[in-house]
């Protein structure tokens, strides 16, 4: 690869209509967003307000939503359009894999979930036969703390949220793509597992040369994991750069607000004390003011 960036997003916008059947005023869910994932694999995190357009960006990169304006280039080739260098479907799926936001929607209720993993391995030519496919699925599942044996024959309803998220991650890992677009992939996973998955991501970036677009609300993992961070608010990127710069030294008000709102163990939100005071009642409210002394952790 001769210095072609993995992904170039330039001036991307997408508008929707708000309310109304046919009318309704249009608004921009994504407004003029640009960023680049360089040739060297890395993790690009998008953090931001709920409803600020993160998923929409992800879906545009995944060709699931048409951009209203702007362009996306994957490995220097246009994502949409009909040009000769358009990436064909098969290739696209080998290059890009998604992890969708809602794990409870990610699999059909009528197919055992493991089928998706096996099929991914077979279809995208990771495995040549069923046995290899199962092996590949098992490897991927083990890396997220599950195993093929554990999920075999079970349907989506029979899994917990965290399990489904991990299965989604495992599925995306199987074809070893160039880019994984992960939309809140570990939001329902407990902290210790989450750390191991995040470390896994990091490891994959290093060892397999996979780039990540990592959409999350968890600033600490974003900080921990990513090479670049973009902070979004109402459709726009308000701040972006290396995480140490941004999170250690936020320039924008919104970023600072975000930092302040992190529920951290140790500093209690002052607003809570206000509420407690207002409603405290001697006979029930236990030592509320003195609650939660600083931990030693």
């Amino acid at each position: 690869m001769s210095g072609v960036p993995i992904l170039e997003v330039s001036n991307l916008s997408r508008s929707y209509r708000k309310g109304g059947l046919f009318g309704g005023k249009p608004f921009k869910a994504v407004d003029d967003v640009s960023f680049t994932l360089p040739e060297t694999p890395q993790v690009f995190s998008i953090v931001g307000e709920s409803g600020s357009g993160k998923t929409t960006i992800a879906r545009m990169i995944l060709r699931l939503v048409e951009p209203s304006e702007g362009s996306i280039r994957l490995l220097g080739r246009p994502l949409s359009g009909k040009g000769a260098d358009r990436i064909d479907n098969f290739e696209f799926r080998r290059l890009v894999q998604p992890i969708f936001q809602n794990p409870f929607e990610a699999f059909s209720a009528y197919l055992p979930v493991e089928a998706y993993l096996r099929r991914t391995a077979l279809n995208l030519r990771v495995a040549r036969n069923e046995a290899e496919a199962i092996a590949a699925a098992d490897v991927a599942l083990r890396s997220v703390g599950l195993s093929y044996e554990r999920i075999r024959g079970k349907y989506i309803r029979q899994f917990s949220g965290g399990e489904l998220q991990r299965i989604s991650v495992a599925r995306a890992l199987i074809p070893k793509p160039k880019l994984i677009v992960a939309d809140e992939p570990v939001s329902m996973v407990d902290a210790s597992l989450r750390m191991s998955i995040v470390n896994l991501f990091r490891q994959i970036v290093g060892e397999q040369g996979v780039s990540f677009i990592y959409i999350t609300h968890d600033l600490s993992t974003a900080y921990y994991l990513s090479d670049q961070v973009s902070i979004m608010n109402t459709g726009r990127v308000v701040e972006s750069g290396v995480p140490t710069d941004i999170l250690d030294n936020p320039q924008q008000a919104y970023t600072r607000e975000l930092m302040a709102a992190i529920p951290s163990v140790g500093d209690r939100w002052s607003e809570l004390d206000a509420i407690d005071e207002q409603y405290s009642h001697p006979d029930i409210r236990h030592q509320s003011a003195l609650k939660h002394p600083p931990t030693n952790a």
Binding site: P98, E105, A109, Y110, L111, Y155, Q158, P175
Partner: protein
């Protein structure tokens, strides 16, 4: 198999039993018929059910029981094949149109709409002329398929239109699944129950249209089918004349077949739902 009988709900048993009864009557017993029950005057006319003729005889001296087995065989084959083909074609093309969208959708929709618009009767009469009224059952079946697939197709297309918005379809696509597989393995299960209902319905349509065609002169009334059996019984006023076994037996056969199929399909869907909801 063992498992099947352990978990099957009662209606599934009953349905399987009814369908099995029809299949035994229609697929196995005809081999044991003492003679060709279609030929007239092989037996005394207008006999009541008795030892010699279990279901009596027709006004044309045919044994009702053996006639019924022949009729059931042909109708079963015709009905199941017509229903099977038109449901498969209809559901698949409907899914394809709804899922793929674009020009494929437009072309398929055009054909569906056009076929739906054209009333079948005049076309069928033309066919009658072209084939001199001697359409073999397979061709009748083919015609029925041509005119019946657009119904499920149109309806399934509507379902596919909303189904393709669901996330797991995207996951399937990114899992490298081909369009056909997405239709068949991922979308179809959601309408499998409905398709089964449509299938059962088309079995009925197939059987009854065939008899209507026999009357128009498209297919031959001399073939034994449940429809022609009813046709002849009506022609000889079996109902008003109190020859209830003659006219009743094909009707009951149709009803039992239908109920059997219905019970099987709803029993199966109950079972599959139980399996997916918990182990």
């Amino acid at each position: 198999m063992r498992n099947f009988f352990l978990h099957a709900p009662f209606r599934l048993y009953l349905g399987v039993a009814l369908v099995a009864l029809c299949v035994i009557l229609g697929a196995i017993l005809p081999w044991f018929a003492p003679g060709d029950p279609l030929v007239w005057y092989t037996a005394p006319r207008n006999q009541n059910p008795g030892a010699a003729h279990w279901l009596g005889t027709t006004s044309l001296g045919q044994d009702v029981f053996w006639l019924l087995t022949y009729a059931l065989r042909n109708s079963l084959i015709l009905g199941l094949i017509v229903a099977g083909l038109s449901t498969i074609i209809g559901v698949f093309l409907g899914l394809a149109a709804g899922y793929a969208g674009g020009w494929l959708d437009r072309v398929l929709s055009f054909f569906m709409d056009a076929l739906l618009c054209i009333p079948t009767l005049p076309i069928l009469i033309l066919m009658a002329a072209l084939f001199s009224g001697q359409l073999a059952l397979p061709i009748v079946g083919l015609l029925l398929v041509v005119f019946n697939w657009p119904y499920p197709a149109r309806q399934v297309r509507a379902v596919a239109l909303t189904m393709r918005e669901r996330e797991f379809i995207n996951v399937a696509w990114f899992s490298g699944e081909s369009s056909v597989r997405i239709l068949v393995r991922h979308i179809f299960p959601y309408i499998a129950g409905w398709s089964a209902a449509n299938f059962i319905n088309t079995v009925l349509v197939g059987i009854s249209t065939e008899s209507a065609l026999a009357v128009i002169g498209l297919s031959s009334a001399q073939q034994a089918t449940l429809g022609t059996m009813i046709y002849w019984a009506i022609n000889y006023q079996a109902l008003l004349g109190g020859k209830y076994v003659w006219i009743g037996s094909p009707v009951i056969a149709i009803v039992l077949l239908f109920i059997g199929l219905f019970l099987v399909s709803s029993g199966l869907s109950m079972r599959s739902s139980a399996r997916r909801m918990s182990v």
